[in-house]
């Protein structure tokens, strides 16, 4: 679960990125976070992943209060999250299998667990036939699937996808969104940050719109709410 309660965030250069943001995403929910550049979307993602702390207000992610969490507990909070980025952020000299296994290995999973879990996740994202390929041998859509598999492999409670279709054509974008929807149906909470109008409108999901550091609409209304 994600809960923002009257969250403010100001940076050292004086920029006020968030001005009293409040919203809740319940366990198992699928939500879009939309807004123009500089609206505060990236700040919300950084707050969710613990990269920055709120200036004021309360940020609760999967039962961790990120305003008061001890630094040593941060890795354990992050293990409840899976993050997918627009630029995939895969390790170029590792194969598809190794990229996904890496996420398990670095949190101390055993080889037995890795051998059991990685093939299952790769099959789920439709890459079970491409396990030995390296990222540069894959298409953009396939690379994003690897990134999703990596985000999913540690069985997180929440997947945060930051512009996951930003580098993909419409057909591949739709595939990725269908995959995220499938993951959501399996019980994982999904938050997709995007500014792609058609994509948001093609799914009848909750849309949280932000502009100027404030929530301007929140509901099942589709993208038009954000357009004002």
């Amino acid at each position: 679960m994600v809960q923002f309660t009257d969250v403010f965030k100001s940076y050292e250069n004086g920029t006020k990125a968030l001005r009293g943001v409040s919203f809740t995403i319940k366990d198992g929910e699928f939500a879009f976070l939309v807004g123009p550049s500089g609206s505060g979307k990236t700040t919300i993602i950084k707050l969710l992943t613990g990269e920055i702390a709120p200036t004021d207000g309360r940020v609760l992610v999967n039962d961790y209060d990120l305003g008061s969490i001890r630094f040593s507990r941060m890795p354990y909070m992050r293990r409840t999250l899976g993050v997918v980025f627009q630029d995939y952020r895969l390790i170029e000299d590792k194969t598809v299998y190794e990229n996904v296994a890496f996420a398990m290995r670095v949190i101390g999973a055993s080889n037995k667990e890795i051998r059991r879990r990685v093939p299952y996740v790769l099959e789920l994202v439709g890459l079970d036939k491409r396990t030995k390929r390296r990222p540069q041998e894959l298409s953009g859509g396939e690379q994003q699937r690897v990134a999703i598999a990596r985000a999913l492999v540690n069985n997180p409670r929440l997947i945060i996808a930051d512009e996951p279709t930003g580098n993909l054509d419409p057909a591949r974008s739709l595939e990725i969104m269908m995959l995220l929807q499938k993951i959501n149906e399996l019980g994982t909470t999904v938050l997709v940050v995007t500014h792609e109008k058609e994509l948001v409108e093609s799914f009848s999901k909750r849309v949280i719109a932000i502009d100027g550091g404030k929530i301007i609409s929140d509901g099942m209304g589709g993208y038009y709410n954000y357009e004002r």
Binding site: E51, I107, N154
Partner: protein, 295 residues
Amino acid sequence: MRGNRFTYYIREGINSIFSHGFMSFASICIIVACLIIMGSFTLLALNVDKVIDTMESQNEIMAFVNETFTDEEARAIGPRISALPNVEKAVFVSREDAWDDFVSTYENPGFFEGLDSSVARDRYVVYLQDISLMAQTQQALRDVPGIAAVNAHLKISEGFVRIRNVVTLVSLLLVAVLFVISLFIMSNTIKLTTFERRDEIAIMKMVGATSTFIRWPFVVQGLILGLIGSLVSFTLEWGIYKLLTEKLIAQSGISFLTVIPFSAVSVPLLVAFAVVGLGVGVIGSLLAIRNYLKV
């Protein structure tokens, strides 16, 4: 799971060394150079210390007994002198023995015909524990009743002390400066590795790896580089020392120098090299990685 992690740390540490082969080679070379200079100065300091110790043991104060004292009275002063602070031992030399010694140093004893031992004084040859305290001991001897005069080579003792102090100071300074240089080079080598792997580190942080888990492969990398550096430098230092002591000194005929054999210092030197090498490796890697672990 722990064994799994340990294998991971070792494998990643070794991989980093080979994937940045040139920088790894450069770091080992720098560690070797610094350790050899440190080791050479330490060995020089130890040898200077030994030479000075030998000279110290031969440096003595002559305490002359009042000439009105009888032989018995003169000998009675002995325990008081021996009890003084900084006195290693006090050897009584009667005026007869002193006179005979003096006369025997000349080739023609005929010069001293008509003279006898009454012109000499009973005396004590006083050996010191620490020649840097010679002035104080000289004063203490003067204060002993029955001692008429004290003859000490203060200038020589001050010279010895000064040489030792300078060599020790230079060695310490060099060791400190070279340690910092080694640390800087090692830290930069590992910083290059961390810079190339910054995306990997970011992914590790993102998926919830602990700082300790991220840090260990780099520490292992530093440990291995430090260990190789210290072993190579120990071997080279051994060769250089043997060459200098056995060949150079023997051939140039500087026979009065007593050099410490390498076998006497090899174990402490190996331990010191290993500690410095490993210390540089570990501290260098920790310094290099710390910025990446702040998030």
